[in-house]
């Protein structure tokens, strides 16, 4: 109980830090924090499949990118409305993940991973090759960001701090949604799928339907993260859909700890800060990033946050619930 209280204290403290950050951090670090939060949402959505359902998806970037493209397309060809763009991306990414998920959740383990990779890369090809619609390899930009219209207050999203608050709000809503989900009976079902697929189907649950449900929720959240990413960069580009981008989410999740809800967020933060620190000293940053990754994997087998929580547990001499 004490641990949970300590945990929530930490969460309240870091939320307060994030909310206050724009008032004391430099513009550059606000931009970095915006990217960390966007990638956190993306990685957490991925982790609903990976950490809680045991499904390693290498196609999340496909849906992430599709969300981005749909939002930009809706701005270019539809009304100049922020909420309209979000709605288009939400509906579109839910539909796309329903279709892809319908095929993919029939397979397990590595086959699921490779199959999602395949579907993701098909989406990548569409974005990359359908030049008249998507702008091809140069990406789809040239839209004006609509103002942030909160009915009582209007602000320009071109201001990095306004944009930051939008991303923070969306990421928090996503995190709370995921928290409630994994702690509900549905979340329990997901975890029991990960532990033992057969047992769950023996007790009469439709494993495929449960998995598909998780896939659609994860995909929709990934699509929303994609909207934030495309708006942040003022462009939707094919790289967003490439498997290497899915790999980033995998990396951040395992780095932070897949067993903890906020693990992927911690992983995203570590990744960006590492990259920033290393590139300050050398342009050969990939060598160092690779070496540090190897060390982190060996030193923190349950992810940085996961292993730290374990340490805290051991220190208090209690088994984790």
């Amino acid at each position: 109980m004490r641990i949970r209280r300590a945990g929530s204290l930490w969460i309240v403290a870091s939320t307060a830090f994030l909310a206050a950050a724009p008032f004391f951090l430099s513009t550059y670090w606000i931009l970095i924090l915006t990217e960390i939060l966007t990638m956190s949402l993306f990685a957490m959505s991925f982790n609903l499949l990976f950490g809680y359902t045991g499904l390693l998806s290498f196609g999340q970037a496909g849906i992430f990118g599709a969300g981005g493209y749909l939002a930009v397309l809706s701005l270019l060809h539809g009304p100049s409305s922020l909420w309209g763009a979000f709605a288009a991306a939400l509906a579109g990414s839910a539909l796309i993940s329903l279709v892809i998920g319908w095929f993919c959740v029939r397979r397990d383990e590595i086959y699921f991973a490779i199959l999602t990779l395949g579907f993701g890369m098909m989406l990548f090809t569409v974005a990359h090759n359908w030049r008249s619609l998507t702008g091809g390899s140069d990406g789809l930009g040239g839209f004006t960001l609509p103002p942030l219209d909160l009915f009582v207050w209007r602000g320009s999203l071109a201001d990095p701090r306004h944009f930051y608050f939008l991303v923070l709000a969306v990421a928090l809503i996503g995190a709370i949604l995921l928290y409630r989900m994994v702690n509900s009976p549905f979340g329990l079902m997901l975890r029991s799928i990960r532990e033992n697929t057969q047992r769950l189907s023996f007790v009469g649950a439709d494993v495929r339907a449960v998995r598909l449900c998780a896939f659609v929720v994860a995909g929709t959240l990934a699509g929303i993260a994609g909207v934030l990413f495309a708006f942040f960069n003022r462009i939707a580009s094919p790289e967003m859909l490439h498997w290497a981008f899915s790999g980033k989410a995998v990396l951040m999740t395992i780095l932070g700890g897949s067993g903890v809800l906020l693990g992927p967020a911690v992983g995203a933060a570590i990744f960006f800060v590492l990259e920033h620190v290393i590139t300050a000293y050398t342009t050969n940053w990939m060598v160092f990033l690779g070496a540090i990754l190897i060390v982190l994997v060996l030193a923190f087998p349950r992810g940085v946050l996961g292993s730290l929580l374990d340490l805290v547990q051991r220190y208090r001499g209690r088994p984790r619930s």
Partner: protein, 407 residues
């Protein structure tokens, strides 16, 4: 060499030092560079860095810009649009750059250019050739000092018009650069030679960027009716293509061949005598294309310092630094808005020749050169002989055609 230049350097040092007393509070001028420094195209970032450092050292040896020392920051775009935007923002917000330069990939340039309107910082593109950044995406802060696709293809089509081939096809990378090269080629050649025929989209050969085996594309071209081939592959793709094509009898003299970036030195150094002779090749800057003192000094200084002949990307970075310095001297300031005014309509003498930055779309009107590959015992690589030179005026499309609406 070093001893001879010692006296002027000492004099300069004294001058700078005494100037420094008066301007002690002056901060250095900061230039932020963004190139591909890692991964498959890292060689382009490396060349650019060499060119930039040479230019900066030359400037600092003469007292810097407006008496202020020039400082450089290099960041890696990894060739990815989101990383490119991140590092440009880092340059502006974190490194305090007065100007940003670079960008290799067209995709990155197309993503970064619109953001410059928000960052209100001048950007000098030195490599990416997409027409958009000085066309449909042109804006107040974005400039380009290097040749773009249109200018290079204008040269290609002028050469093609003199060839006897009527039916043309292409081998290019399957992304915007390859497709745009082919589209402009069709447009420009049809103007010069109305009876030219172009193979339809399904019969030309566009290969994905990750291709390493080009045999099926080579077979496809050799089996087509085409008499002439425009090759817009570049870098590692071009090296693989040329070697594999040579083995398959592609260069048997039966077809006219144009390689838009075949005279890039990184390609010629890798291929050496595997580069066939007698092929028309283009580049953005050829180190033997003109014998002006400026070019000779650049080639000599560069090859002495780095032991290779300058590539076009080295020249691009060198040119951008020099153009920036000239603009600053012109407006007597490095203030960002003033620099924009200084760059507009700026004319200066560069190794490539005299360039003028057109105020309407911010594209440099720059001379170009194509040539025929030839062996020469004095050079470790293939050189161009004969060379056909084009003036900037004849190869740069009129502003009305670029689609640029400057704001």
């Amino acid at each position: 060499m070093k001893n001879k230049s010692l006296t002027p350097v000492l004099v300069l040092l004294v001058m700078v030092f005494s100037a420094g007393i008066g301007l002690a509070a002056d901060k250095p001028v900061k230039i932020g560079f963004a190139y591909i420094m890692s991964g498959p195209f890292a060689t382009y970032g490396q060349f650019a860095k060499q060119g930039a450092e040479l230019a900066i050292d030359e400037l600092n040896a003469k007292g810097g810009i407006l008496g202020r020392k020039v400082e450089s920051f290099f960041e890696d775009t990894a060739g990815k649009p989101d990383v490119g935007i991140r590092v440009i923002r880092k340059h502006v917000f974190e490194n305090g750059a007065d100007v940003v330069m670079g960008l290799d990939s067209s995709g990155v340039a197309a993503a970064v250019a619109p953001v410059m309107m928000e960052l209100k910082t001048p950007l000098l593109v030195t490599h990416a050739a997409t027409p958009d950044v000085t066309g449909s995406k042109c804006n107040r802060y974005t400039f380009r000092v290097s040749l773009n696709i249109n200018q290079n293809i204008a040269m290609a089509s002028a050469i093609a018009a003199d060839m006897k081939s009527k039916i043309w096809t292409t081998a290019g990378p399957d992304y915007s650069f390859g497709h745009q090269s082919w589209e402009y080629f069709q447009q420009y050649l049809a103007r010069k030679k109305p009876d030219a025929v172009f193979l339809p989209q399904a019969e030309v050969a566009f290969s994905p960027a990750a291709t390493t085996d080009f045999s099926s594309y080579i077979t496809k071209i050799m089996n087509s009716k085409a008499e002439g081939v425009l090759i817009s592959l570049w870098g590692g793709n071009l090296i693989d293509f040329v070697r594999q094509a040579a083995d398959m009898g592609f260069f048997d003299g039966k077809r006219d061949i144009l390689m838009t970036l075949g005279a890039a030195t990184e390609v010629l150094y890798a291929l050496k005598d595997k580069m066939p002779t007698g092929i028309w090749v283009g580049t953005r800057y050829w180190f033997l294309a003109n014998d002006t003192p400026v070019n000779q000094a650049f080639v000599e200084a560069f090859s002495k310092r780095y032991n290779v002949y300058p590539s076009y990307n080295a020249h691009g970075a060198y040119a951008a630094v020099k153009a920036y310095a000239a603009a600053a001297e012109k407006v007597k300031s490095v203030e960002k808005e003033k620099i924009v005014e200084g760059l507009r309509g700026l004319s200066l003498e560069l190794p490539v020749g005299k360039i003028t930055i057109r105020p309407e779309d911010h594209q440099a009107i720059t001379d170009g050169a194509w040539g025929v590959t030839a062996a020469d015992p004095n050079y470790p690589i293939r050189i161009l002989k004969p060379i056909r030179k084009f003036s900037g005026a004849e190869i740069t499309p009129p502003v009305a055609e670029t689609g640029c609406k400057m704001n």
